[in-house]
């Protein structure tokens, strides 16, 4: 999304120069200008809020109360079958076809090439990656019904080789890291044809995987997009089950995920199994958090300074990005492992480190959701106008205009990050109570996880408070 933000900023600069609209697509990033306190104090306050919320959560030691906070769910009516099996797949297929047509069309001059007018770019980045993903964690996961690649794979004959259990979630980890790196390193938000090419490549791999290993197994385990969306859906208040749609407290799905009793979230029985059953599943959650951070980090002035210093002696730009990417991911995994080991010590328990890492991973999803909202809400709102005009007149949209964001949008970003962390603190508290028989043991086991959350809040708030610059050498 760095590319998208950058192109938005460029358009904004042009529009500003023309003096027509004073919009600011990267308003989230520009919010630091309005802060009247020093940055370090702003960061310390953010960390302090998370720490204070942990201290407050320790006062909730009534097991019945903690359990009720996540055990309460109401079953609503089932999703109409026609909506789930006909309408949604058709919408997904139509969307994919439109994206491919307008993406490749841009290369042959039959579709607008301007990123702010091209339907493919607007639908993918604004409609899908920003807007639709928000509905996943704010409402519920609808991707299994909508996913066009799933629809295509279902119509094809399956070879039904059993999915190798040893692979677990690792193909999804590799896939997610590859997709995010491609998004950062390639101009996928400017070049519509390249975007369509990337979607085609992803589609071929995905459909082939689903044909070889079975649709349900592939999308439940190895597909990075389906897995990420399934995880986001676990934060949401609604979930589809065999009994109907369940309404639950936001975050309750995360406690269930940790316990391994999560209800089937998908279209089938394949998601019945615990999604974080292996180390790969934990690595995937960490990768999800890391990917968003990296995406924001490479657009900060600090990264520009570092990259330029390393680039000076002649190191290729892409290599700098790749090494920072790999090191960053390993650092995130390492810090999380440290927290899990530390939890075993402070919690004075025999529960295995792997198990602690697995149990306390779901709260990170609330953090990832909050961070996504912080990054993309302003982006989505300001670009929803070009998206709407492109949808209304796809072949000849009028000159792009952006919604002007009110200044309080910077506050929305900060609030989203903090709310995500607060939810994570509470979910971790509830998970601790499920794992440990002694209540203080549950509290003490969370020390390292809370420390990591405080550090991560500080890092995220710092990135959000920095002005957005164009990542160099790309």
């Amino acid at each position: 999304m760095t590319r998208v933000r950058r192109s938005v900023s460029i358009v904004v600069a042009l529009v500003l120069a023309a003096g027509t609209v004073s919009a600011h697509g990267a308003a989230l990033r520009g919010s630091s200008g309005s802060l009247s306190i020093p940055t370090w104090l702003f960061l310390a306050t953010g960390g302090g809020v998370v720490g204070a919320s942990f201290l407050l959560a320790t006062f909730a030691t009534d097991r019945t109360f903690v359990r009720r906070s996540h055990d309460h769910a109401r079953v609503l009516a089932a999703v109409p079958r026609v909506l789930r099996t006909v309408v949604a797949p058709l919408v997904g297929l139509l969307g994919l076809l439109a994206v491919l047509a307008f993406g490749f069309g841009a290369a042959f001059d039959v579709a607008p090439a301007d990123p702010q007018q091209n339907l493919a770019i607007l639908v993918v980045w604004v409609g899908w990656w920003a807007g639709y993903v928000m509905t996943l964690y704010l409402v519920g996961n609808t991707w299994p019904a909508l996913n066009p690649f799933r629809t295509v794979a279902r119509t094809l004959p399956s070879l039904d080789r059993g999915y190798p259990a040893a692979w677990g979630a690792w193909p999804a980890v590799v896939g997610l890291l590859a997709l995010v790196f491609a998004e950062v390193a390639l101009p996928l938000a400017e070049d519509a044809a390249m975007l369509a090419g990337a979607i085609t490549a992803y589609g071929v791999v995905t459909v082939a995987g689903a044909v070889v290993f079975g649709v349900d197994d592939w999308f439940a385990n190895a597909d990075p997009v389906a897995r990420a969306f399934d995880h986001y859906g676990r934060v949401a208040p609604f979930a589809r089950t065999d009994d109907g749609v369940v309404l639950r407290v936001p975050g309750a799905g995360l406690v269930e995920t940790a316990a391994g009793t999560a209800r089937a979230g998908g279209d089938d029985g394949a998601t019945d199994r615990a999604p974080l059953a292996d180390a790969g599943g934990v690595a995937f959650v960490v990768a999800l958090v890391f990917a968003t951070t990296y995406d924001g980090f490479v657009a900060t002035p600090a990264w520009r300074t570092i990259a330029e210093a390393v680039h000076a002696p002649g190191v290729p730009g892409v290599l700098i990005y790749a090494v920072a990417y790999a090191l960053g991911f390993l650092a995130f995994v390492g810090v999380y492992r440290w927290a899990a080991r530390s939890a075993r010590r402070t919690g004075d328990t025999f529960v295995a480190v792997d198990e602690l890492a697995r149990r306390f991973a779901p709260p990170l999803l609330a953090i990832a959701a909050g961070y996504h909202l912080a990054h993309y809400l302003g982006f989505f709102v300001s670009l929803s106008l070009p998206l709407a005009t492109a949808l209304a007149a796809p072949t000849a949209p009028p000159a792009p205009e952006l919604f002007v964001l009110p200044t309080f949008f910077g506050g929305v970003a900060i609030t989203a990050i903090l709310v995500g962390h607060l939810l994570a603190v509470w979910v971790a508290h509830a998970i601790g109570f499920e794992v440990f028989p002694e209540r203080l043991q549950a509290v003490r086991a969370q020390y390292a996880f809370v420390a990591v959350m405080i550090a991560y809040t500080t890092l995220s708030l710092w990135i959000v408070s920095q002005p957005t610059v164009t990542p160099p050498f790309l």
Binding site: A44, A259, F350, F436, R439
Partner: protein, 105 residues
Amino acid sequence: MTTPQTDVDATDAPASDTATAVPTSVPADATVHECPYCDRPFTREDRVALHVGLQHYDVCTSEEEEAFETAYLAENAEIRRYRLKAAVALIVLYFGLLMVYAVAA
């Protein structure tokens, strides 16, 4: 702790299948207290009592029920002390930030 029923395995105990299937790793030199129903190892005897009361309440003996209640009440006393410390930490955090704001902003 006595083992009243040896034929009860973890899968027979309702609502305990997930909580008792917790993978553990025990250091070689550690003192282990095992749950008589699901064999989950614990570092302390009172934690076994708490665990049995929470996870195997429907199958446990009346002595175990009593041990659970004793352990639970003992926990409450310790929690009260912990809450005091947490309250102090909260106050220090709040007023600390307040002071910093007064000076820096």
